[in-house]
């Protein structure tokens, strides 16, 4: 995982149960940073969902007449306006940025949700069944946890080709063991609780016990991992695209917009690399602020200090 330059996640202990609304209200009151993060996320989601209505141009239309125009360019004759300038294919930077948000969120949310959810199921299941199942499962998770992410991504791209779905797969795989591990340690404690024992002795099915009694009780670490993943996924997508292993032209994606010509022509056209970099930073910043806040609210150890 070191290769991804994503810092290792801290593990979390089992928190007390709380209703969602309670947590939300608490957060807005106590977490100004988290709320700022949330604001960034909301703006981003709005842009991504309504991208087609927000942007002035099709982000993939090449228009060489307007190659590398600086921000604020207005063509007097046609009235074409490029508030953030254009890239080396004459495509509108603003339109590509907004559509890039769509790619970033698609990858970020899909990879995090699938990764965290599969991790949740595997982690709880492993803890519930225990014994050899747990032992073997733990070793498999260790392998995927230790396996260098970029190598995994490179291999996936080399085998299946590039594209948004493949990037999602490449990012999801390493998320699974990370979530599973945290969830499992919370679930291990649950397994010994009397009511689980009771449920088992009544003869409830494994699925029912796991889904109805154990999963709800590990929602806190799950949610903490989930929010932490989104920012990481966006950053990973950008890194992979920058390395040429992620989303491909002509799709609008922030990491891709930083690569190739953006870098080569950065001196005379600095706006081309600057905007996508700012967008990535802001987005990940927003998700991380929000994620920290979620952690503070859900993690009783930290909350007690406030």
């Amino acid at each position: 995982m070191a290769q991804t330059e994503i810092a290792p996640l801290e593990s979390n202990t089992l928190p007390r149960q709380k209703t969602i609304w309670d947590a939300a209200l608490r957060m807005i009151r106590r977490q100004p940073l988290g709320s700022a993060g949330l604001l960034v996320i909301v703006i981003m989601i709005f842009g991504a969902v309504f991208a087609d209505y927000v942007v002035p141009y099709d982000p993939e239309i090449e228009n060489f007449e307007y190659m590398l125009m600086p921000p604020g360019t207005i063509d007097e004759t046609t009235g074409a306006t490029f508030i953030l300038g254009t890239d080396s294919f004459g495509r509108d930077m603003f339109s590509r940025l907004v559509h890039g948000a769509r790619t970033a969120l698609l990858v970020g949310f899909t990879a995090s949700f699938i990764g965290a959810f599969v991790g949740l199921v595997l982690g709880v299941g492993s803890a519930y069944f225990g014994g050899y199942v747990d032992l073997i499962f733990q070793r498999v998770m260790d392998v995927f946890m230790a396996f260098p992410l970029v190598i995994m991504a490179l291999a996936i791209v080399a085998i299946f080709g590039t594209g948004t779905e493949k990037v999602i797969i490449a990012i999801t795989i390493p998320f699974i063991p990370r979530c599973a591990r945290v969830v499992r340690s919370s679930a291990l404690a649950l397994r010994e609780l009397p009511y689980i024992d009771a449920a088992r002795s009544i003869g409830y099915s494994h699925t029912r016990i796991v889904m109805r009694h154990m999963v709800p009780n590990v929602m806190a670490p799950f949610l903490i991992m989930l929010t932490a993943f989104v920012g990481q996924a966006i950053l990973l997508e950008a890194s992979l695209s920058y390395l040429g292993l992620g989303v491909q032209e002509p799709t609008a994606a922030w990491g891709l917009m930083l690569q190739g010509g953006a870098e080569e022509f950065a001196e005379s056209a600095p706006w081309v690399p600057i905007w996508p970099g700012v967008a990535i930073t802001l987005a990940v910043f927003g998700f991380n602020l929000f994620g920290d806040a979620v952690r503070d609210v859900l993690d009783p150890k930290l909350r007690a200090q406030n």
Binding site: F64, I159, Q248, E264, E267, S268
Partner: protein, 544 residues
């Protein structure tokens, strides 16, 4: 290659041109100084007989000599070859063009001190042309016409050919034919040179730190009088183009030998003004679009022609050429070569070359509709290299879009890209390329023959084979022109079996104190560095 007259080769005029370096010619070379080169590719091994990348030519070539080479003072000419370890002029064929006798210079020594004789050159070409069982040789196929190689004495080398061939001398001049010492081959075997260096070139090997740099120092015993001028050089590995560019900008490197896009050249000139000299040339490389004729709907010539029609090459030449290392509109033959079709003829006869862009797009749409493919969607396989592959790929997608085609790009690292294109052939449409060192059109256009080993379009066409066969049999340049036009029209228009995009355009901006190096139409050529020198006064002006 029967019938390709050497006369043809002799009549071919220079195709490249150089800017900026003209004034340098009158100056007297100065000895001394170190040259820093940035190289964008890696060194797989030191044995040029088995390698084919400029990544090893740029750093390693200066350690070795070749039998003949392109004239370092006139490298833009595809026909001006001069002796390197041989003496006098490059020999003409005798015995009806089937015997070539080279006189080898005496007094040449390898870097280990042993003398270089005709026996060493023979051993070298034996390794290239008739490699022993189990030994690889990448360019064996270029020497199919060679029957035997003999060295009757220390200064005579005789090639006997099975039949006369116009491609023999250009093949001998290829920069990959490093001369090895027979003693080394005998003592260490034929794979020793992959990891060891003992040449007779202008520079001696000092060190190679894998992934970092190669260092060479002046060979004081070099046989070309007074050369080399440099005390030494360092070839720095820098896979990213932006780093190579910035290295020249920031004084970490003096020159890069592959090529930069015009925008990068302009940025450098804007930042450093007259401290940058720019040399430019047409480049003997071209990207092709290869549709897979085995998959639907690319078995339909109407679909393929529509794809070619939708590409506005003249617009690309005007705009795309600013950001990519491609520029010149041409057919299947290296532009400006006497055998190349003039642009007006291309415009009139070949789909996709017309000036009437809107008309071409309408035609493309009509053809697609006729083929029932109005909403054609496909995936373009491309190689994970920015310049020019990905840039051209993205441009093509934008062009096709204008005729209603929806195209995705699947960019793969080189290894799986090759596997998909060449072995599995599981692509719809792929980028392919034709990139040669010595300009040799009749050999180069064999790429478009359906039976050629390196044509991946998977189709058959008896007529193309027939035309090419006739082309090989005629020695008459006018006839060759006619045949090559027919061949070209069949490939690009009638069948549209493959499409030409734009020919590459080589731009080498370098620090103006680097003198003596002249651009060639290939990044493989003229890389001995023996005539390169550094103008010390000028370098001081750069603050370096």
């Amino acid at each position: 290659m029967r019938g390709v007259a050497s006369k043809l080769v002799a009549t071919v005029a220079g195709a490249g041109f150089a800017l900026g370096a003209v004034a340098a010619m009158a100056e007297t070379p100065q000895a001394g100084g170190e040259l820093n080169i940035v190289v964008g590719s890696k060194i797989p091994s030191y044995d040029a007989h088995i390698e084919s990348t400029f990544g090893m030519i740029h750093p390693i070539r200066p350690f070795y000599s070749t039998l003949i080479r392109v004239n370092p003072d006139n490298p833009s000419s595809p026909t001006d070859f001069v002796c390197d370890v041989c003496e006098g002029d490059v020999p003409e064929g005798t015995d009806n063009g089937t015997t070539y006798t080279f006189k080898i210079r005496s007094g040449i020594t390898f870097h280990d001190g042993k003398p270089l004789t005709a026996a060493d050159v023979k051993a070298t070409f034996d390794k290239i042309v008739f490699p022993p069982e189990g030994i690889a040789s990448n360019r064996k196929a270029y020497f199919k016409m060679v029957e035997s190689i003999e060295a009757p004495d220390d200064t005579t080398l005789v090639f006997k050919l099975k039949h006369p061939s116009g491609t023999f001398i250009p093949s001998v001049a290829m920069p990959f034919n490093f001369i090895y010492s027979k003693a080394d081959l005998d003592a260490h075997g034929h794979t020793w040179h992959q990891t060891n260096i003992n040449g007779s070139g202008p520079f001696r090997f000092v060190e190679h730190v894998q992934g970092s740099h190669v260092k060479g120092e002046r060979n004081d015993n070099y046989y070309h009088e007074g050369k080399p001028y440099l005390d030494g050089y360092t070839a720095l590995s820098a896979p990213k183009m932006s780093i190579r560019l910035q290295a020249i900008r920031g004084g970490r490197a003096d020159i890069e030998f592959r090529g930069f896009p015009p925008k990068a050249r302009d940025d450098l000139v804007a930042a450093l003004g007259d401290k940058i000299t720019v040399q430019e040339s047409d480049w003997n490389c071209v990207l092709l679009v290869t549709p897979n004729h085995k998959t639907k709907p690319f078995d339909d010539p109407r679909v393929r022609r529509a794809m070619s029609l939708a590409v506005d090459r003249h617009g690309g030449s005007k705009y795309l050429s600013n950001i990519a290392i491609v520029k010149t509109v041409g057919g299947i033959v290296f532009p400006n070569h006497p055998l190349a079709t003039p642009i007006d003829e291309l415009k009139a006869n070949i789909a996709g070359y017309s000036d009437d862009v809107a008309g071409s797009i309408e035609q493309a749409k009509a053809l697609l509709a006729e083929a029932g493919q109005s909403d054609l969607k496909f995936t373009l396989l491309n190689r994970g290299v920015d310049q020019p592959y990905k840039v051209v790929g993205t441009w093509l997608i934008g062009q096709w879009r204008k005729a209603g085609m929806q195209v995705d790009q699947d960019v793969r690292p080189t290894t799986p890209f090759y596997a998909s294109l060449r072995k599995q052939k599981d692509f719809d449409v792929s980028i392919d390329f034709n990139c040669q060192s010595i300009v040799n059109p009749i050999a180069d256009v064999s790429k478009f023959l359906p039976t050629a080993g390196n044509n991946y379009a998977s189709f058959e066409d008896a007529e193309l084979e027939k035309i090419y066969d006739n082309l090989l049999r005629t020695a008459n340049v006018d006839e060759q022109k006619i045949l090559i036009r027919q061949y070209e029209k069949r490939v690009l228009n009638d069948l549209t079996s493959q499409m030409i995009t734009l020919w590459w355009y080589k731009i080498n901006p370098h620090r103006s104190y680097v003198k003596g190096w002249k651009i060639a139409p290939s990044h493989y050529l003229n890389q001995s560095l023996d005539n390169v020198w550094i103008d010390k006064e000028e370098k001081k002006r750069h603050g370096l």
